[in-house]
Amino acid sequence: MSTATQSEKGTGKTHVEMLHEAQLRKARDFRRNVSLSWGILFLILVYMFSGQSFLGLNTIQLDFDFIRKNLSFIAGGLGQTLLVSFLSITLATILALLAALGRLSKFPPFYALSTFYVSLIRGTPLYLQIFFFFLALPQVGIVLTGLIAGVIALGLNYGAYMSEIFRAGLESVGRGQREAAVALGMTPMQTMQRVILPQALRFAIPPIGNDFIAMTKDSALVSATGFVHEVMWRAIRVGRSQFKGLEALVMAALFYWVMTIILTYFQGIIEARLAKGDR
């Protein structure tokens, strides 16, 4: 601080520079205090599960022996969780793009198919859709493996919601872009591929990232069918069989939480990179 004062006098920083520095300092302090508060909240949470007694309040006692023994079993579901999420988001992205193109299409059957799909999916619960593929389809002779049924259900569901993202992305590309492409002699297909889609995709990538993160958690719903052995399914299974539901769910919660924190971190990096080439 004393050196700063010196340089203020010595080199004579302008008023604007000093204001700017004060602003930076304020932002830094704010971030530091938020981190500190996060740490405290986290410690409180940990303490609540410590089994200690404090001022007559009993905190929750966890069976760490159970946790240690079953850690790798539940963690073993992470791969399935990520696999289901990844396959589902891929399917959802393709469906969403097609639905968005349909929604903007002037060809009635295509437009109708798109709005019909979105309406049907958004009008029914995800939970129902998942069971539909496990319980209803086998009745008419279609038996899917757990993974495939889960991916189809999640993909169809997210695709319907995500179509709005793509619609917004496609509409965010100005009319002048299409006109410039057409004036160069591009066909409608080339215009879409070379000019409209790349810009719409860039617009859509951050929200797709959000949905992928949401998907890693919604993928827990497929555990209810009992056929996909992801994190949630494993937690419920060991929790029930050994009457340690509390421990099992706390572990599963931690896995999901850490996973989303990591994914959010990567999403931030991707977004920052996209923003750099931004107009």
Binding site: G176, E179, V182, A183, L184, M186, Q199
Partner: protein, 254 residues
């Protein structure tokens, strides 16, 4: 000499609004024609009908021997001819409309590579040559958002030129620019004109029209009301609407 652009009896309606009324124009090869007129008179629509960014309601468009005759507003059956006309016409927009996800050079070679199937090397050579001639080669690897308005428009001109069109259409190419950037774009356009390009330019830049145009067309209420050499038109306007328009420019109005 046969005209390179010939518009005959062109009508255009936007739903019930009659925007172009039986318009006929001819442009000779290497001729520079400026199109002036008040806002809403139909200048842009006329320009955009020539390369079918707008479908004419009725009339005939002919560019460099390719003819499309529209009878009732549908152009579907003329798709191949329209494509050829678009290859023969370059267009420069008021808002530049560069592709923001491509660098300057990529913008310029996109047409030749994607539309004409030109090989990349050849397109790059041609593109760089054109960027050089508009003075923008030094920014070839920059993205458009890093350029000034005047620079963007010069790149847009290079992009159109790299398609090697027979005719260039300009729709108020300097109207979106800060006053101090207009000159650099007009200079590039003068150079293009000098190189022998046929040009149809919608503009409010009377100085440019006076200096560069071989002929000035005046549009009012969807009709060409006067056509003359610039010196004649500006000194002895015949139509009262031309007179009013020129007076407006004299007094500094838009």
């Amino acid at each position: 000499m046969a005209p390179i652009v010939k518009v005959s009896n062109l009508d255009k309606y936007f739903s019930l609004l009659h925007v172009l009324k039986d318009v006929s124009i001819e442009i000779q090869p290497r001729e520079v024609v400026c199109l002036i007129g008040r806002s809403g008179s139909g200048k842009s629509t006329l320009l955009r009908c020539i390369n079918f960014l707008e479908d004419p309601s009725r009339g005939t468009i002919e560019v460099d021997g390719i003819q499309v005759q529209v009878k009732n507003g549908t152009t579907r059956e003329h798709r191949p001819q329209i494509h050829e006309i678009r290859l023969k016409t370059g267009m420069v927009f008021q808002e530049f409309n560069l592709f923001p996800h491509m660098t300057v050079l990529e913008n310029v070679i996109e047409g030749p590579v994607t539309v004409k199937g030109m090989n990349r090397q050849e397109a790059v050579a041609l593109g760089e040559e054109n960027l050089d001639s508009v003075g923008m080669l030094f920014k070839k690897d920059e993205y458009p958002n890093r350029l000034s308005g005047g620079q963007k428009q010069r790149v847009a001109i290079a992009r159109a030129l790299t398609m090697q069109p027979r005719v260039m259409l300009f729709d108020e190419p300097t109207s979106a620019l800060d006053p101090e950037l207009i000159g650099e774009v007009l200079n590039v356009m003068k150079k293009v004109a000098k190189d022998g390009m046929t040009m149809l330019v919608v503009t409010h830049e009377m100085g440019f029209a006076r200096e560069v145009a071989d002929r000035v067309l005046v549009m009012a209420d969807g009709e060409i009301v006067e056509a003359a050499k610039p010196e004649t038109l500006f000194s002895k306007p015949k139509d009262p609407r031309t007179k009013a328009l020129i007076d407006r420019y004299r007094t500094g109005g838009g």
